[in-house]
């Protein structure tokens, strides 16, 4: 499931959400431009769900059947999520008869490549204001 949130870098072409219709229009634009084939859920205008889950721009959470949080990542890596889900499913479904399983907790830092050029291109896609605001903010990381 993809949850559409808000525009972290609003611009002239992809504006901030001044009403829910604008939010829906941006979500449709994203679906059509990026080609998202998964079902898309749109959060409410004030970001109730997004903020409850941490409010970051590119998170992934995996929720077990019944509602227990099994995985949280502040940044989405498809390979990392797929690897986790494969292990998770294998442990639960493919265990030998009679073998009991129990959970344990892990925590680690992962590293990702930061493609500043692609990031700036996405800001430009949103509009010149998004690019200007990024430079004015004076940050070094892409967020």
């Amino acid at each position: 499931m993809f949850v559409y949130t808000h525009e972290a870098h609003p611009g002239e072409r992809v504006p901030h959400h001044d009403c829910f219709e604008t939010k829906l229009a941006n979500a449709r634009l994203l679906r059509d431009e990026i080609g998202i084939s998964r079902p898309i859920l749109v959060d409410d205008l004030s970001g109730t769900a997004h903020r409850a889950y941490g409010g970051l721009p590119n998170m992934t959470w995996v929720i077990d059947r019944g509602g227990t949080i099994a995985y949280k990542a502040s940044w989405t890596s498809a390979a990392n999520v797929e690897s986790f889900v494969a292990r998770y499913v294998e442990a639960r479904r493919d265990r030998p008869t009679g073998v009991r399983i129990g959970p344990y907790h892990t925590e680690q830092l992962e590293w990702r490549a930061i493609d500043q050029e692609a990031f700036l291109a996405r800001l430009e896609r949103n509009g010149p204001a998004a690019l200007e605001q990024w430079h004015r903010a004076g940050l070094r990381r892409s967020s």
């Binding site: 898309i40 859920l41 998170m59 967020s143």
Partner: protein
């Protein structure tokens, strides 16, 4: 819930008002093993409302949050 600047117009102003603090707080909240909160969301394809907990009632669910940027 009030907007509280969630739909800001200016990213630089958002940063100046501690808008990126969530990055530092993320690791300290809602840990694996705890209960996932549920909210009603709107399906983009047909405009109907879906409660998140209905998704994971029968099967595990991957939730990716995102936008253009």
């Amino acid at each position: 819930m009030a907007d509280d600047g969630y739909n800001y117009v200016d990213f630089a102003e958002h940063v100046a008002h501690d808008g990126l603090a969530g990055f530092d707080r993320f690791a300290d909240r809602m840990h694996a093993g705890s209960r996932a909160p549920s909210f009603p969301l709107t399906r983009l394809d047909d405009g109907t409302t879906t409660e998140l907990d209905q998704l994971w009632r029968r099967t595990p669910t991957v939730l990716e949050f995102g936008s253009f940027t």
